[in-house]
Symmetry: C2
Subunit: 366 residues, 2 copies
């Protein structure tokens, strides 16, 4: 990875909290030969993480160079404060999803924040516990390093190196900007997805039978863990609320327009809402941060093992790189519907070559 | 397909409107040797669809057995009325996304609804125009047949046969139930996605750089065509409004809780919202209508042509069927992140076999 040899972590690294993130960081560091000390308020969780090879039990005289606090958001600041006091030579970071609150609380209690820098690896939210831990969890993922003025560049580098050593992409961002950013790209979308999914609770079964890819996409993350999210949302309420309030104002305008959809101004209100959504979604960066638009080709496959691989082998043989791929299943038929995205220059050739080989194309558009 | 030979369409079938749906129906019927007559208010669009092989120009003396009206929602009822009057022996259907309105308007003007039955193929919303038309567009997709009391079983069968001949799955549903169903599983999710995407318009670029799979899923359909959706939403306002109003009430509770997230009742309000979303999304049927839960395994691949196919070939060789697949790209690194879903019984073996072959597993959970 990109770090220079002279900056690499030498350890020992102490990890407090052996859930998915803590145990995964431990596994990844152990793979690199770094000595890892684990700790957890739950002796059972700690023993399990040690069994999984994420590190060793703490011992008297441990003198960590770096402490990683990977505990639930509501206890993060308190644990960081304790670790700063216990290990006066260590740099301490945490991996909680909200970054302003812990720093503010640490400053309020007079903790030595010249040795603390928060961070946030954007990985692993869908599952939990040390048994799900993986050394490769962070590869290719953004890892925010939430810098502030009271820590030196040299000390912050220890946390940056941790992220780089684990294969993540370092994203420097101040705590306030981080919290505003995750409010709009993560926390508000979570709540919006949840609120839409709630509307499915009382829908008739026959209505759910008509559900297509759209509602599935919108509500997918509504399956997230309530316990974790109550803490995340509570901790970032200040920044989530204005996003949701603005959304509610837009929603009220739509609801008003729907009361009399033929009234003067109503169609325009709906059209402007739709166009505004178009412009918003266009701002999301694509593959590897690019904003290139791709052509999409929908191929029908029989729903049997090997069919899908055969299709992708064919595409690979044509030398065409897949930019994106989505698999849908027909709600009732034994048919797989595969939507592949390619650069627009390849669309026509892909369709012709696939049709020439007997594949059925249900749609193609740039 | 499932229709008996004595019920098969013999044609000629007249299709009014040569956009994506009309032209695709034409192509599919032509493939089956059925005579197709096309018509369109735009001579250029008509000529193009004829060029594409979707059917022939109309001629004096045409006596269609079946008329399919595939025009924009706002003119659907008027065109159906005209077709019923012009071809007094034909059964007429339409393919608009909203079904109560046209039937009510036809009854109000005294049209012969004993020969009209609305329908709604759930396909093709993402693109438009005859050049995107495909004979296979409807394969494996639900096609709602919106029955009512004034049409005989025998006549309705002509429309059912059309759907079956085109490879769709017939879903009988009365017009009111259809409109309520699409309000909650299609139209409200569209607006919710759009409203969330609108919040991205003013977000800082660095915030968008942190966008992960969640916000992308939630906002994907926000890229939909405003012109079409203004008509759909306007036509089904009556049923969309109560869904959005209930959602707004839930949203208001969340916004209130966020004003003072530590206040008595606030964490509980957020937890209940999250749990309610969990229950809603669990109701969506999975593959082929089943509600089985799948295990998921996240595999890292180099982002080069052929890597993806190699992975799927390996999975195919293990005899493990893919239930679902999602491809993510790392925002900055040249890494592909592939999430495959398999039946839970196969998870452990899949992980072991892939790791044994040198694939990197970033996560696995049931």
């Amino acid at each position: 990875m990109a770090s220079e040899p002279d900056r690499r972590l030498r350890g020992p690294v102490r990890i407090v909290g052996t859930g998915l993130l803590g145990a995964s960081i431990g596994l990844a560091l152990r793979d690199k030969g770094v000595e890892v000390v684990l700790d957890d308020v739950s002796p059972a969780a700690l023993a399990l993480a040690v069994d999984y090879g994420a590190g060793r039990h703490p011992a008297p005289g441990d003198a960590p160079q770096l402490v990683v606090v990977a505990v639930p958001p509501d206890v993060t600041a308190a644990v960081v404060e304790r670790e700063l006091a216990t290990y006066p030579d260590a740099v301490v970071t945490d991996v909680a999803s909200v970054k302003s609150g812990p720093l503010e609380r640490l400053r309020a209690v007079g903790a030595d924040v010249s040795r603390y820098i928060g961070s946030h690896p954007m990985a692993g939210r869908e599952r939990s516990g040390p048994t799900a831990a993986r050394a490769d969890l962070f590869i290719g993922r953004p890892w925010v390093i939430a810098g502030h003025d009271d820590i030196s560049y040299q000390r912050a580098a220890a946390v940056e190196d941790l992220a780089l050593d684990l294969g993540a992409t370092v994203v420097p961002m101040d705590p306030e900007s981080h919290d505003r950013a995750v409010a709009v790209v993560s926390h508000a979308p979570q709540l919006v997805s949840t609120l839409m999914a709630s509307r499915l609770r009382d829908a008739p079964g026959e209505a759910l039978g008509l559900a297509g890819g759209g509602v599935r996409d919108v509500t997918r993350i509504a399956a997230s863990d309530p316990g974790l999210w109550v803490q995340i949302i509570g901790a970032n309420a200040e920044h989530i609320r204005p996003v949701l309030t603005a959304l509610r104002d837009d929603l009220d305008r739509v609801i008003d327009a729907l009361a009399d959809p033929a009234a003067t101004g109503a169609p325009r209100a709906i059209a402007e809402t739709m166009a505004s959504g178009n412009r918003g979604v266009e701002r999301l960066p694509g593959k590897h941060g690019s904003t290139t638009r791709f052509a999409r080709v929908v191929v029908l496959i029989d729903d049997r093992p090997g069919q899908f691989a055969a299709l992708l082998t064919t595409i690979g043989e044509l030398g065409i790189n897949l930019e994106d791929l989505r698999l849908e299943h027909s709600p009732r038929a034994q048919i797989g519907i595969v939507e592949v995205s390619v650069v627009p220059e390849h669309e026509q050739r892909l369709v012709e070559e696939l049709e020439g080989r007997g594949w059925r194309i249900a749609a193609a558009w740039a």
